[in-house]
């Protein structure tokens, strides 16, 4: 059993504060992903949990022990590093068994556990090779094997896939997910890749400038981003964020895009938003489509825009359109006809999937919806 709790954890380097009052409770066997741009403090937080960095304030608890002052070797954790950190002078077998050997476990136990881990990871044929004779993906597997063999309370992954090429990264991502199904353990996984975060996580922690922006399931952070930053970070292609202004209209308040359409606001969701307020309008590329190929929408709203560029991707296409002064991306699945740049095309967007953020603070303005809890 290993829950991990962080209470008011702070990291300072001299005068620079890298992590601010980090609070998080991670459940037993939960897969939590820290995601954010480089320099957001996600790796630092992970390294503090591992004990590779001292904490400047707060408290870290693993299981029922406060581990603030314990060295890494007493925390019963495993870590997979970005560049694998395999011992180059040892074989795959020795690399995996290193931790158990250091703990002075009997030979046959080490043998058994290494064999089991190697079986799980498909490493049986490489056991007597050195890391130098392995490919990047194989090395990453050995690093994971080394982590599994020790039966740790918590697995820590520090950007484990960023040294691999795109295809291999996809494969390994799937393998990590399968592995977590087989070896149920608490996992904390750091990445800057939002796709990894979305596909792997039970819960995502989006970080920025040493602070947590949002904690939630992949569904929550995608459908109800807590801030403009999260909205722009999660999702690919990213959400369209359009500078706009609220205006008074016949039936309440509407959002006016400069030089473009004015979208009515659903008063049940935005009853606290008054007129004449600068806001950021957020529309997912998936919720915009040309009228003639739009799917079913809850609250369709039609407007006209110029298609300036088309990027066909086979099963889908990205359209770049001019919505007033803003350039907006639309993502169309299985376009039924060939799309080309043209003027004044009728478009539909779903007002039920509209996001609104405060222009200054970036805070989400939508009232609580079904996606939020």
């Amino acid at each position: 059993m290993a829950e991990v709790s962080l209470r008011q954890v702070v990291k300072r380097y001299g005068g620079f504060q890298a992590v601010h009052d980090f609070d998080l409770d991670i459940a037993h066997e939960e897969f939590v992903v820290f995601v954010g741009p480089s320099g957001c403090g996600k790796s630092t937080t992970l390294r503090m949990i591992a004990g590779l960095e001292d904490i400047s304030g707060g408290e870290i608890q693993i299981g029922d022990r406060v581990v603030n002052d314990l060295p890494p070797r007493e925390r019963n954790i495993s870590m997979v590093f970005q560049n694998y950190a395999l011992y180059p002078h040892m074989t795959v077998r020795q690399n995996q068994g290193f931790g158990l050997r250091m703990a002075g476990r009997p030979k046959d136990e080490i043998e058994k556990k290494v064999n089991r881990a190697s079986g799980l990871l498909g490493l049986k044929d490489f056991l007597s090779r050195r890391p130098a004779a392995l490919s990047g993906g194989q090395r990453q597997r050995v690093a994971m094997g080394r982590a599994i063999v020790r039966d740790p309370d918590v697995f820590l992954f520090d950007e484990p896939l960023s040294n691999l090429d795109a295809k291999l990264r996809g494969q390994m991502r799937t393998e990590i997910k399968k592995l977590h199904e087989k070896v149920r353990t608490t996992v904390i996984y750091v990445t800057h890749d939002q796709v990894e975060a979305m596909t792997l996580a039970d819960r995502i922690v989006v970080m920025r400038d040493g602070r947590i922006e949002q904690v939630g399931t992949p569904d929550e952070v995608f459908h109800a981003p807590a801030s403009r930053f999260v909205a722009g970070f999660i999702g690919s292609p990213p959400m369209n964020l359009i500078d706009a202004r609220t205006v008074a209209s016949d039936d309440g308040v509407a959002v006016s895009v400069p030089g473009g359409p004015t979208l009515p606001l659903d008063q049940s969701v935005f009853d606290h938003v008054g007129p004449d307020r600068p806001v950021t309008l957020g529309l997912r590329p998936e919720s915009i489509a040309p009228e003639r190929m739009a799917g079913p929408m809850k609250t369709p709203f039609s407007f006209s825009a110029d298609i300036t560029l088309v990027e066909p991707l086979g099963g889908e296409a990205l359209l770049f359109l001019q919505m007033g002064q803003a350039e907006v991306t639309a993502r169309v699945f299985r376009p039924s006809t060939r799309l080309v740049p043209e003027k004044s095309v009728p478009f539909l967007t779903d007002l039920a999937e509209m996001h609104l953020f405060d222009a200054d603070t970036g805070v989400r303005l939508n009232a609580k919806t079904a996606h939020e809890s």
Binding site: G51, P72, S78, A85, L86, Y87, M102, R150
Partner: protein, 309 residues
Amino acid sequence: MSVAADTPAATGRSPSRTRRRFAAAEAYAYLAPGIAIVALVMLVPLAVGISFSFQNYVIFRPMSRGWNGVENYLELWTDRTFWLALANTARWTFWSVAFQLGLGLGLALILNRPFPGRAVFQSLVFLPWAVPTFLSGLNWQWLFNPIVSPLPGWLTAVGVLEEPRNILSDPDLALYGPITAMIWWGIPFFAITLLAALRSIPQDLYEAASIDGASPWQSFRHITVPFLMPMITITILLRTVWVANSPDLIFVMTEGGPANSSQTLPNYVFTSAYKSMDFGYASALATVLMAMLVIYSILLLFVRGRLGQ
């Protein structure tokens, strides 16, 4: 496939063979100047030196010069000073290199950790290496002199000596004077090379090891030492040959005395050649020393090869 079979080699024509031969010759032509220089400055003097060892060649007696077969080597076999010098060379080299390695490694490990003033300390540590051996020999000679230096008094105070006296004039201890000077002078060389090797060890291996549950000692034993081993063997090899061949500190501090008690082979070679003026005998001594160092080097390189597997 018929196109592939129609190559010159398959049809038995010869131009490719001559061209190959020419290409090989061309490589040797490029190498020739280098080989010529090496031969001129190394191989020829070496051959001349070895040929001296089979001659009766004493500068005072030019008339009696001539080949005398292995006579010099037979003389050497019965020469008590030779055996003493050989034993002293082994002692001198072993203790010097062992302490240089131990202390140099310790120093490198200390300098590898950050601490305030490390840059200054580091340059100070490497200072002895910059001092000419001749000067450091003189300095250490004074340091062992009880009249001008407190060192013999301190050695007495900690119980190493029973009274403050000059160990350089004690036949049983004289060699340890130059050994001390050699250790002091040679530590920086080990420290520099081992520090460079330490810095090349990726830091995340230590992090991985600490997470794997390794204690600091286990990290040192299973990561630092294996990484340093190739550098350690090559440095020991270099330093052994270097120390074994170097007469200067002993010459400055004791001149091999008192009564040959601190005589090593290089010193004995020097004394035979330039004091007794017996070039033949000196060459025989030098040849024996060289042969032993060559065998030692081969053994060490063999061990290193085994370690690398």
